[in-house]
């Protein structure tokens, strides 16, 4: 690997591209040439760095200095001052209140954040396998293939307490063991990178920013369960992710880290990318498999589960991107190390895409069990314009709504459900008191009406009926009976729908009804919106 004195990482996430990071990159390249620094300083495009509001964002390593809202006219100054003379340009750096970026040196102000999943994101050049390897990449795989039996790999993952980050929170080690125990000669490993949940893009950032971690993790999983073929099912719109994974596969293959007889261990693993079909429900594992088989993207009835009857009827493990990104670190550092993060019941970290009425937006990785209050007021910098927090929503399907009462409840996969809510897979939408709950409920339902696949009756018709009734209430035409119907319908959908989509479609409304009943009642009885923001 050639040695560079410094790296300039330019965020090439979609928001930053929109804000002109391409031009900024060109300006850097020209300016470095002018100064004769092109041999010493390298410009790298990287996945999203997190603070999207502040783009274009650049980070200069090894110092880990973050510059925000960089304009082309700023570039000569940064090159001249920082890269040539080693003096940080104070008036251009971030105030230190930007979440999502861990400078290379331990930052005091991001103390709450932990980086396992995102440890390489924004730090290495994702198109360089060498840089991944330089940060311990493929060591976990080497350890598995040369020192461990498949059952030992599964055991460590079990011990670590890792549960699925795709929403259902199923223990990953246990899932693997089901497939490992089947006797079929062909098994498959699938990485679920469909990420259809609105407002979520954490999986994309991992794929773009650290593709090799997924390739490595999938190969480890394949070894553990006895799968010789893997597929990364990536949402069709994620062009850069697809390119990065494809490029990563080629690199890994050419280095013998993927393909036939990896590390001479006799284990072979082939990996390929499948483009997603587009529908939200295709992120559901069985619908994903149906769509991979070329059928209509509709969930299957379970059981049988994919672990025993998956792709083409063969045993198949389906894991979320974020789940997998944990795996190499767990193997390298051990289960106890992993259990050092998060809560005893739910170890590790969780990545959120934080959006909405919050001062600091972007990608954060926090330990499981952190409270909403810590996230909002310490990492997120509080609610803008001095408004009050009203509600947070944790993800389209598998998540739920969190009211002010829940600001101090530990956020993990087991505690929130006890409160009638759920952690969800990735989005964290913060809303202040200027929003009308009924309006929000209506817009959530509109999403589910659009995304129901239509296979089963409760969801196909129920989503439409829920939406109609909420709309009625929002327009001031609702009655008290309507709320009762909502309750009954919601319960029925939860209990009878075929897949997670229909089962969780009523959850937002039901939690809102639970915590914000007054607001619904005001719409019904007084034909008035307490927040005074909706059409009423």
């Amino acid at each position: 690997m050639q040695f560079y004195r410094s790296h300039v990482l330019i965020c090439a996430g979609t928001p930053c591209i929109l804000k002109g990071c391409g031009a900024v990159r060109d300006a850097f390249i020209t300016e470095l040439k002018n100064q004769g620094l092109e041999e010493e300083v390298r410009v790298v495009e990287t996945g999203c760095l997190g603070p999207c509001d502040l783009g274009p964002v650049i980070v200069i390593y090894p110092e880990g200095t973050l510059y925000e809202k960089v304009k082309i006219s700023d570039v000569p100054k940064i090159v001249d001052e920082h890269l040539l003379k080693g003096r940080i340009v104070r008036d251009l750096i971030s105030e230190g209140s930007i979440p999502g970026i861990i400078p290379y040196k331990e930052p005091v102000y991001f103390g709450i954040q932990e980086r396992i999943v995102l440890r390489n994101c924004g730090i290495i050049d994702p198109s360089s396998i060498e840089e991944y390897i330089a940060r311990d990449g493929y060591q976990a795989l080497a350890k598995c293939l040369t020192e461990m039996k498949p059952s030992e790999v599964i055991e460590i993952v079990k011990q670590s307490g890792l549960v699925g980050r795709g929403g259902a929170a199923f223990p990953t080690g246990l899932k693997w063991s089901f497939t490992a125990n089947t006797k079929d000669d062909q098994k498959y490993m699938i990485c679920n990178a469909d990420e259809g949940e609105p407002g979520t893009f954490k999986d994309r950032l991992i794929l773009e920013g650290d593709p090799h971690s997924i390739i490595e993790a999938m190969t480890i999983a394949g070894y553990a369960v006895g799968a010789t073929r893997g597929f990364v099912y990536i949402r069709g719109e994620y062009g850069l992710s697809i390119d990065r994974i494809n490029q990563g596969i080629q690199q890994a293959e050419s280095m013998g880290l993927l393909g036939d007889n990896i590390f001479g261990s006799g284990f072979s693993f082939k990996l390929e990318v499948k483009k997603g079909a587009g529908a939200y429900v295709c992120g559901e594992e069985t619908a994903l498999i149906e769509s991979m088989e070329g059928n209509r993207g509709e969930p299957r009835v379970k059981p049988p589960y994919p672990g025993t009857h998956g792709f083409l009827g063969k045993p198949t493990v389906v894991n979320n991107v974020e789940t997998l990104a944990n795996v190499p670190q767990i193997i390298l550092n051990g289960a106890d190390w992993y259990r050092g993060y998060g809560t005893p019941k739910c170890p590790g970290t969780k990545v959120f895409t934080m959006t909405g009425d919050i001062n600091n937006k972007g990608l954060i990785e926090v330990p499981m069990g952190i409270t909403l209050r810590e996230i909002i007021y310490e990492i997120g910098g509080g609610i803008p314009e001095g408004r009050e927090f009203k509600m947070a929503q944790t993800g389209g399907t598998s998540g739920g709504c969190l009211s002010g009462e829940m600001l101090d409840v530990p956020m993990d996969y087991f505690t929130l459900p006890e409160k009638g809510s759920a952690l969800g897979s990735g989005a964290l939408l913060i809303m202040d008191d200027s929003h009308c709950i009924v309006d929000i409920a209506e817009s959530f339902m509109r999403f589910f009406v659009r995304e129901s696949c239509g296979k089963c009756a409760p969801c196909r018709v129920g989503t439409v009926r829920l939406h109609e009734i909420v709309k009625k209430v929002a327009c001031g035409d609702g009655t008290y009976e309507d709320l009762e119907i909502l309750e009954d319908l919601g319960r029925t959908m939860r209990e009878t729908s075929l897949c997670g989509l229909g089962q969780s479609a009523p959850v937002p409304i039901m939690t809102m009804l639970r915590y914000f009943k007054d607001e619904f009642m005001a719409h019904i009885e007084e034909k008035r919106c307490p927040s005074e923001t909706c059409k009423l």
Partner: protein, 899 residues
């Protein structure tokens, strides 16, 4: 299989592992409501009406798709379950047009039943509905998707049973609907209008058109009977109201398991067609006058009697019918043999499968399908030669497709790209009339590659060496030249057939209707023996018989050489058995076949003819010749349900009851004797065929007195060893497969186990002989004929069925695009087709289906009768005419005539 113990509503039960909760509940007498579930067919868990409470599970479970587990505690009717079920039903109803008052399904609708049970009087969602327009564009059934509950049953049946994939879900979410691809009309989809989707629809979304407005469910009586169309032997439920058949559905027969094809389900309105004959007719000049039965029967008896006394017994002949019951064929041959004293009795099997009877009797000792239909699904290879199974035996086609789904290799030899050829792994598109060469070629490969079953040949057969010698010159290359099939394909097919564990060979008229028909049949027997594919399940040589009771008519001895049960008229012992039973001296000389009788009549030596339910004026080759022959008779009696082209030439026409109006039995192509039940009274003065024969016989001085058709069946059993145990007392909905020698015999699903009927199987050395008429400069094209899905035989029934007629109203000739271009013919224009025997005008259908140099015409249409063109050349052994090959030319018509 391990057993699982669980508790359902407090009752403990044990079921096999893998059983669904819903099925397990049945074992303790609990019926869980379900809308979408169809066992083994639609287990998709879509409607969620079947949810139950399972202890320790936080959601409810769809019982139809949830397997049982040890120690499971299930509540099927708890308050939680009932409340959820009620809301799900309410949701479904909220998007369903509830016009129950006028809905055809009223009273027979599961949604209605549950709405009643759950007291869904008023809905809480008076909101948006998806109300697609009613689709009544096809002639058979109405699609009212405003009532569709998207249970998906129709889709599963269409793709997994019918194998048609005509419909699927389109759209998503609330806009989802069932439709053909791109929402096109069904008629532009692969739909074959089997109506099996209609059968399974739990609500009123799919309804048969011809039943609309004809009766409510509770007014209708269902009468189970056997389908009158092809030889498959599907059981039907006739829907009867006020003495009328107002509809039909598939019954759970041993072959069809509830499924039918378009004809059985939608093709029965001929029963009440105004053209039905209702009174006897006697010729008066060019027309007829109505007569009393007494008058008509007296005339028949005196005329036939007179001819016999004047010209001898052999001056009259009797054509029984492959459409009529066994009892009728039995009486018809008894009338000929005992009452009149002639063996001149035959029926139209002569024209379809006489070569089967002759050929298989030679090779094996009995001439019928060796195996059963349901066994096909389990065969590892299916070899179809000369059978357009999905069109002519559609429900057997279902079994073939099922075999393919289960992994069987499908090998098809056919000159056209028929549906199964398109679905086949190997399609050999050989020229019509080259079957012997093709089969010899395959056998040559099998022997060359040492794939033949030496042990079977050694222990079970004879004459192998002579046969081997004969096929040695039929190398794939040589055969390729004759048949037009690439040599590699012949090799591939031979290997696939020979190496399969079990290979079922299926053939039909493409094999039999040739001047070398018997040779063709012998060759199919050869290849099955060569590979040991006989005498066990899922193998065999399986001729598919064309008509509903062609097997039975043969079994009953409506053949000039056999008494019932293939007992030879020339065998003195057998003759004396029948003489004793029938109390008359019986003729020993074999009689005239159908085809010979026509020739003898043409020459003037046959004077009288009594025809039941046959229409040689459309079905026989060289119709012009047939017409001259019939006109040459002194006396012609035709007994039928319609005034057919043949009846129009008769001196006396006797109106008979159709299948729905009389009782008896039919024997299906798999040798299964099944009940025909009288559902309604015949129209006007029409009478049962067997009663009419009895009256004529009695008037001829040979009294026949039976009180019921069952009594006739019992007489048949007493004289026919293979039917020995098939008695009226015993026969039920399952039928019985002969041989069934005694009343405690279960019947025989497959023949020749351990031993052939004749002892050792006989290999025949058969050389290829070209068809009798080959193309030449004057008549450069080969015409081959056949049937289409939507019509039957001469069309006398199907063309009087509104839906079928509307769907396929006219004849056509299939012409390849290259031929069409050479002749300057465009698709859809009228052309003239001529052979040495006559010419017809017919519409051109340009398609790449036929092999090079071949054209195809269906023979159902009297106005463009293919059989004006066909060659009456006969197979020397079976006397079957060569319907499948003749030479024709096609000419364009003047512009005005071509449109």
């Amino acid at each position: 299989m391990a057993l699982v113990t669980l508790t359902i509503d407090g009752k403990e039960t044990q079921v096999e592992e893998g059983t669904s909760i819903l099925e397990a509940a049945k074992t303790v007498g609990i019926e869980i409501p379900s809308l979408c579930y169809l066992k083994d067919i639609n287990e998709t868990g879509k409607c969620r009406v079947c949810v139950v409470e399972v202890e320790k599970s936080n959601t409810l479970m769809a019982s139809c798709v949830t397997p049982v587990a040890n120690g499971m505690v299930v509540g099927t009717n708890t308050e939680r379950v009932r409340s959820a079920r009620r809301t799900v039903l309410e949701l479904i109803l909220s998007n369903h047009r509830t016009d129950c008052l006028t809905c055809e399904k009223n009273g027979d609708c599961k949604l209605q039943d549950y709405a009643y049970e759950y007291g869904l009087e008023e809905l809480r969602f008076p909101s948006d509905r998806v109300l697609p327009e009613l689709d009544d564009t096809n002639p058979f059934f109405i699609r009212d998707l405003s009532k569709c509950i998207l249970c998906g049953r129709c889709i599963s049946v269409c793709s997994d049973i019918q194998g048609q994939d005509a419909i699927a879900l389109i759209g998503r979410g609330f806009d989802t609907k069932v439709a053909p691809a791109w929402d096109k009309p069904l008629e532009e989809s692969p739909c074959v209008f089997c109506g099996n989707c209609v059968q399974v629809c739990p609500v009123g979304a799919l309804t048969p058109k011809y039943s609309v407005g004809k009766g409510r469910f509770w007014e209708i009586e269902k009468v189970e009977t056997t389908c009158p169309y092809c030889g498959t032997g599907c059981l039907l439920d006739l829907h009867v109201k006020n003495g009328k058949v107002v509809g039909a559905s598939g019954a759970d027969g041993p072959v069809n398991e509830g499924w039918t094809c378009v004809k059985g389900r939608f093709g029965l309105d001929f029963i009440h067609h105004p053209d039905r004959l209702t009174v006897p007719l006697i010729r008066e000049g060019d027309g007829f006058k109505e007569a009393s039965w007494d008058e008509a029967l007296e005339l028949v008896a005196s005329k036939l009697g007179g001819l016999v006394s004047e010209h001898g017994s052999d001056s009259v002949a009797f054509f029984s019918s492959a459409k009529c019951t066994n009892e009728v064929s039995y009486l018809m041959q008894k009338l000929a043999r005992a009452a009149v004293g002639t063996n001149n009795v035959d029926h139209c099997a002569r024209l379809c499968h006489s070569s089967t009877v002759a050929g298989l009797a030679t090779s094996f000792g009995s001439g019928a399908m060796t195996n059963s239909i349901h066994e096909i699904a389990d065969a590892k290879a299916v070899f179809i030669i000369g059978s357009n199974t999905t069109e002519n035996h559609p429900v057997i086609g279902i079994q073939v497709k099922e075999a393919v789904r289960r992994g069987a290799k499908l090998i098809v030899a056919d000159p056209r790209d028929i549906e199964l050829a398109q679905k086949a792994h190997i399609h050999m598109k050989h020229l019509p009339g080259t079957d012997v060469a093709l089969l010899n070629g395959m056998m040559n490969v099998i022997i060359e590659k040492d794939l033949h079953d030496k042990e079977f040949i050694e222990t079970r057969t004879e004459n192998f060496e002579a046969f081997k010698e004969c096929v040695s010159k039929y190398t794939p290359e040589y055969v390729s030249e004759i048949t037009g099939v690439p040599a590699e394909l012949i090799v591939e097919a031979a290997v696939a057939y020979a190496t399969a564990d079990t290979a079922s060979l299926i053939y039909s008229m493409g094999i039999t209707q040739h001047s070398t028909g018997t040779d063709n049949v012998l060759s199919t027997a050869n290849i099955a023996m060569l590979t040991g594919n006989l005498g066990k399940e899922s193998v065999g040589v399986n001729p598919l018989r064309g008509q509903n009771n062609v097997q039975g008519a043969c079994d009953m001895g409506a053949l000039p050489v056999f008494f019932p049960g293939y007992q030879s008229v020339t065998n003195p012992d057998i003759r004396s058995k029948f003489e004793k039973a029938w109390g008359r001296e019986l003729p020993s000389e074999p009689g005239l076949t159908v085809t010979e009788a026509i020739n003898v009549a043409y020459e003037g030596d046959l004077k009288g003819l009594y025809i039941i339910g046959e229409n040689p004026m459309v079905s026989d080759p060289d119709i012009n010749h047939v017409e001259a022959a019939l006109k040459n008779l002194d006396f012609l009696v035709v007994q039928d349900i319609f005034l057919t082209e043949t009846a129009e030439l008769a001196d006396v026409v006797l109106p008979s009851a159709c299948f729905a109006e009389q009782s008896g039995t039919f024997t299906s192509t798999e040798r299964r004797v099944q009940l025909v039940r009288k559902a309604i009274e015949p129209p006007g003065e029409a009478r049962s065929d067997w009663e009419i024969i009895c009256d004529i016989s009695t008037r001829l001085g040979y009294p026949m007195n039976y009180s019921s058709s069952g009594e006739i069946l019992d007489e048949i059993a007493s004289l026919t060893p293979i039917y020995g145990g098939i008695t009226s007392r015993r026969l039920d909905s399952k039928g019985l497969q002969w041989p069934c020698p005694t009343e405690d015999h279960p019947g025989t699903p497959y023949l020749h186990k351990g031993k052939f009927s004749r002892g050792l199987g006989l290999f025949s050395a058969i050389d290829y002989i070209p068809a009798a008429e080959l193309p030449d400069e004057e008549y450069p094209l080969i015409l081959t004929t056949g049937r289409i899905l939507y019509h039957f035989h001469t069309g006398s029934m199907t063309r009087r069925t509104e839906g079928l007629h509307a769907h396929r109203p006219e004849a056509f000739i299939e012409i390849r695009p290259d031929t069409a271009e050479d002749l300057g013919i465009v698709d859809g224009e009228m052309v003239q087709v001529s052979s040495r025997r006559g010419k017809v005008e017919v519409r051109a259908k340009v398609t790449s289906w036929p092999a090079p140099g071949v054209v195809f015409m269906p023979f159902h249409f009297a106005e463009a009768a293919a059989n004006i063109l066909t060659n009456p050349a006969l197979d020397p052994k079976a006397k079957i005419p060569e319907f499948k090959v003749c030479a024709v030319r096609i000419d364009r018509l003047p512009l005005e005539a071509a449109l």
